[in-house]
């Protein structure tokens, strides 16, 4: 595996100069963030109103940043495609938020949270960034409590914690199964307070379609008012993208229907490097696909694996039987069999791949979708016998009810069926320690950047990162950038503005005039199938090469044969989706190229050619301990250019994991 056929596989990409982060100070890791904050320039309060900030996205990162920069007195414009900033998909996070408070006195510390996150990311993240994340985590909890976030509490009135995601300390704060919702409502309310104060202008039902880069700096965006269809120009001194992840490239994922890559992809095409696009996280405990009509997948908290047992029939011919009639000796509790010490609690990627293998063997259960049954049993029969129905309901009632609502089956009587689904994307726009992309003045926060999770994200860390970026990191680093301003005055007649607006207008017109035979969704679904088959849980060189050909052909057909009805000057949901799918069709190819070039397995990226004798992911630190930052190859189909950022581990030693 490690022998390279050639540096540039089949001419699919070119290699450019290495890059590095120049913003993180040297020295002891615990001092770096304080040093950076001290060194960053200040802006006089009287001058802040004259400096403007555009923030796209109102999830935890974008909402928190807009509120905080508004409080500081900058002139903020906030954008979201939903009808209200409160709808952003951070709202759907169930489990919790990590913070190194050590309230349980169980040995937790900033350094341990840092260490766990680096290790969990399979040694593919940047130490300085991750340490800062762990460092500000405690401030997040203070901030949220002050805002009125109703975290779970103990009878003494203090905050409750639980252990989450396979770590050995209890550092996860939660609000029942709705932690994301409660944190987002906190940020939303802080944001609306600033709207009332006049520091933030809110543009809901607006979609960013282009970034304006003038004289080498990001200076604004082109956005479409989704109600009137008007294409608007918004200028500012700095632009922040907090637009979430790109899991919907797989069509089916746990993301919201509207989650998309357009904002970051448009920025990528304008010069922002895309970091590690192939790093995607597949979550093992989702409700399986029920039929061809499926529009999205629903996650069930993996806490279910604490008491549920996962199995499939030993023989394929038993797969359509009532599971209750399959005797114990004909069941294969495959995780307990293969991983006797961790059993059903193996990490997410191992549990996911194991489910895929048994289904590939023809031993999956549930309805056939296409040629295969894609599901495995998650069985609570033993737990019900051991704990009583009331105890199970107390612990898992809301999850089991949700399962019953979606599937129509009673999990207290029939084993549940689960299957892995795409859940989170660790890749995103490349940023430095300041969260600034390779375009000066363009900052990227939350899931939209590549920064903190390496090749795999730990449970309860997405909420932490979103709020860390939004409340505590960006407001400091943007200040340093703005202190260099105000920049030269720009107006709508600047060549860069005219060009950006014209390209958006032309693209909308083009999408509407093709009037072909196929719906937008049919293209999206087909792209999703390609990505899931060849760039999903397990990737091979052969499969990825095939996927690239298939995606290119599909993209060609899209631009010849898509049918988008309706007009540009009205609410037009087909048109919105068409633009997003067009960008997914480009991103999908880059993900495959990234997955192809990374000839190792790490975290969520599993190359079948790189595994241990036990079938575990095998990293090649000597060759691949770097961030792959991709530069757009140009509008004329030029190959993308790879820039490597070497990852240096000064404080954590790289190790190979084992769960046997």
């Amino acid at each position: 595996m490690t022998q390279q056929t050639s540096g540039l596989i089949h001419g699919l990409y070119a290699e450019g100069d290495p890059i590095q982060d120049t913003k993180a100070p040297a020295g002891p890791i615990a001092d770096r963030w304080n040093t950076r904050k001290f060194e960053s320039a200040l802006v006089n309060p009287a001058n802040r109103r004259k400096l403007s900030v555009i923030i796209v996205g109102t999830g935890l990162a974008g909402g928190a940043a807009a509120a905080t920069l508004g409080e500081a007195g900058y002139h903020v414009k906030s954008f979201c495609y939903q009808d209200s900033p409160r709808r952003a998909h951070s709202i759907a996070a169930q489990g919790g938020i990590n913070a190194a408070k050590n309230y349980k006195e169980d040995g937790d510390s900033t350094f341990r949270l840092f260490y766990d996150t680096v290790k969990g990311g399979d040694y593919r993240s940047r130490e300085s960034n991750v340490y800062r994340l762990a460092e500000v985590s405690a401030n997040i909890i203070d901030q949220c409590v002050a805002q009125g976030v109703p975290f779970a509490r103990e009878y003494g009135g203090l905050l409750d914690n639980r252990s989450f995601g396979g770590v050995q300390v209890s550092r996860t704060f939660y609000a029942r199964g709705q932690t994301g919702q409660q944190l987002l409502i906190g940020a939303y309310q802080a944001l609306e307070r600033q709207v009332a104060a006049g520091t933030v202008e809110m543009y809901s039902r607006h979609e960013m379609l282009e970034v304006i880069v003038a004289d080498g700096r990001a200076r604004g965006i082109i956005a479409r008012d989704l109600v009137t269809g008007e294409v608007e120009t918004h200028l500012a001194d700095v632009v922040v993208l907090a637009t979430g992840g790109y899991g919907n490239v797989f069509f089916l994922s746990t993301n919201a229907m509207g989650s998309n890559v357009t904002a970051t992809w448009r920025a990528h095409r304008k010069g922002a490097y895309f970091g590690n696009p192939c790093y995607t996280q597949i979550h093992p405990t989702c409700i399986p696909v029920a039929g061809e009509h499926q529009s999205k997948l629903t996650l069930m908290s993996e806490s279910l694996r604490n008491d549920g047992r996962i199995w499939v029939p030993k023989r394929a011919e038993d797969c359509d039987k009532d599971p209750r009639e399959i005797p114990e000796e004909d069941r294969d509790y495959y995780l307990e069999r293969i991983y006797p010490s961790f059993g059903n609690l193996v990490p997410r990627d191992i549990a996911s791949r194991a489910a895929k293998y048994v289904c590939d063997e023809g031993r999956g259960v549930g309805p056939k979708v296409g040629d295969f049954r894609r599901g495995v049993y998650l069985d609570f029969t033993d737990a019900l016998r051991r704990m009583s129905k009331e105890a199970v309901a107390e612990k898992y009632g809301n999850l089991l009810d949700m399962y019953q609502r979606i599937t129509g089956e009673n999990p207290y009587e029939v084993p549940m069926r689960i299957y892995p689904a795409v859940h989170y994307t660790m890749g995103g726009l490349w940023v430095d320690y300041d969260l600034q992309s390779s375009i000066p003045g363009l900052f990227v926060a939350g899931e939209a950047n590549f920064s903190d999770h390496g090749a795999n994200r730990l449970g309860a860390s997405a909420l932490m990162q979103g709020l860390a970026d939004g409340y505590f990191v960006l407001p400091n680093t943007i200040r340093d950038y703005l202190a260099k301003g105000p920049f030269e005055k720009l107006d709508d007649s600047h060549e860069a503005v005219v060009e950006a607006k014209a390209s958006v207008d032309a693209r909308i017109a083009k999408l509407l005039e093709i009037n072909g035979d196929r719906t937008v969704d049919s293209f999206h679904r087909e792209l999703g199938n390609i990505m899931w088959e060849y760039c999903g849980m397990e990737r091979t060189e052969e499969g990825l090469l095939k996927a690239i050909d298939l995606i290119r052909a599909l993209r060609d057909e899209f631009w010849r044969n898509v049918r988008v009805l309706g007009a540009a000057d009205t609410l037009n949901q087909s048109l919105e989706r068409a633009g997003r799918v067009a960008d997914f069709l480009e991103l999908g190819e880059l993900m495959c190229i990234d997955a192809l070039h990374r000839r190792e397995s790490c975290g969520g990226h599993f190359r079948a050619e790189s595994q241990t004798e036990d079938g575990e992911a095998l990293r090649h630190d000597d060759e691949f301990a770097y961030v792959a930052a991709w530069e757009w190859g140009g509008d004329n189909g030029g190959a993308p250019i790879l820039h490597k950022e070497d990852l240096v581990y000064e404080f954590v030693e790289m190790k190979q994991r084992s769960y046997k």
């Binding site: 928190a64 509120a67 905080t68 409080e71 939903q82 009808d83 209200s84 900033p85 409160r86 709808r87 709202i91 759907a92 408070k101 401030n139 203070d142 901030q143 949220c144 409590v145 002050a146 805002q147 009125g148 109703p150 779970a152 509490r153 103990e154 009878y155 009135g157 203090l158 905050l159 609000a175 709705q178 919702q181 802080a190 609306e192 307070r193 709207v195 009332a196 809110m202 809901s204 919201a256 229907m257 509207g258 029920a290 039929g291 009509h293 499926q294 529009s295 949700m402 609502r405 599937t407 505590f472 407001p475 719906t519 969704d521 049919s522 009805l565 009205t570 609410l571 949901q573 087909s574």
Partner: protein, 250 residues
């Protein structure tokens, strides 16, 4: 089970000022495992294939938490089950059913197109006072103020509101008092919410009335329609807090 055949009567309206009408669409072979919105997706695919503009409707998370979806289904907000429209499944209907599908009906929620309404009035009610003023960085250590568990739990119960607007749509007066009461209760149960408690309730009630929502006459349809089952007693709390604020001279 085999697929169902249904007759849908759906509100079509080209724009905010256009005249709308109910249009009949037969659909066939609908799987009971589809969600209601997936059934509409299927219809939209068929409409597009026929060259007819698809029906506009809002949805985003499709897991019952973002609050973006919301339809009047045969006269009931979010349909026959206590859940959001996206979590309603076709197994709640029977072969041969006729189903009417309309947008939320309330002056404060004007129609944008087809089944899509403008709910920004809710955001403006929050702007009026639905927050605790705590600038980033100014927060004390989280454990410095304990919160009794029953109060924290009641606060959480009210904070579960997803802002979908079903309460308004279900109310014969198109009142937003359940939404409002939920926020008053969420923040009012917490020690952190006390300093602004009186001013909050007065400002939010004023904004609610200004937006054109009706008053509450204790009918209770709001709470029955609420997908998060927020109880009507948050409206009692709202009235209690308002009276208290007024006696305090607000």
């Amino acid at each position: 089970m085999t697929g169902m055949n249904l007759t849908l009567k759906i509100w079509r309206q080209a724009g905010p000022r256009a005249k709308g009408e109910m249009v009949t669409y037969p659909v066939t072979d609908i799987s009971p495992d589809m969600s209601f919105l997936e059934m509409l997706d299927v219809l939209n695919e068929q409409l597009t294939a026929r060259g007819e503009e698809p029906i506009a409707f809002d949805s985003d998370c499709r897991e019952g938490i973002c609050g973006m979806c919301g339809l009047m289904i045969s006269g009931k907000a979010h349909g026959p089950e206590v859940t959001t429209t996206c979590q309603l499944h076709m197994r709640s209907f029977s072969d041969g059913d006729e189903i009417t599908v309309e947008p939320w009906r309330a002056d404060a929620f004007p129609v944008i197109k087809d089944l899509v309404v403008d709910r920004e009035a809710f955001d403006r009610i929050i702007q009026a006072g639905g927050f605790i003023s705590a600038n980033t960085g100014a927060a004390p250590e989280a454990h410095s103020v304990p919160v009794p568990k029953p109060k924290a739990d009641r606060s959480f119960m009210a904070a579960a509101c997803i802002g979908c607007g079903a309460c308004v749509a279900a109310c014969p007066n198109a009142s937003g008092m359940l939404f409002l009461g939920a926020k008053i209760t969420h923040l009012g149960e917490l020690p952190q919410g006390q300093p602004e408690r009186d001013a909050r309730v007065v400002a939010m009630v004023n904004q609610h009335d200004h937006e054109g929502f009706g008053g509450c006459t204790n009918i209770g349809e709001c709470s029955l329609a609420c997908p998060k089952e927020i109880p009507q007693d948050v409206i009692n709390q709202l009235n209690l807090d308002l009276r208290r604020a007024l006696t305090h001279g607000h």
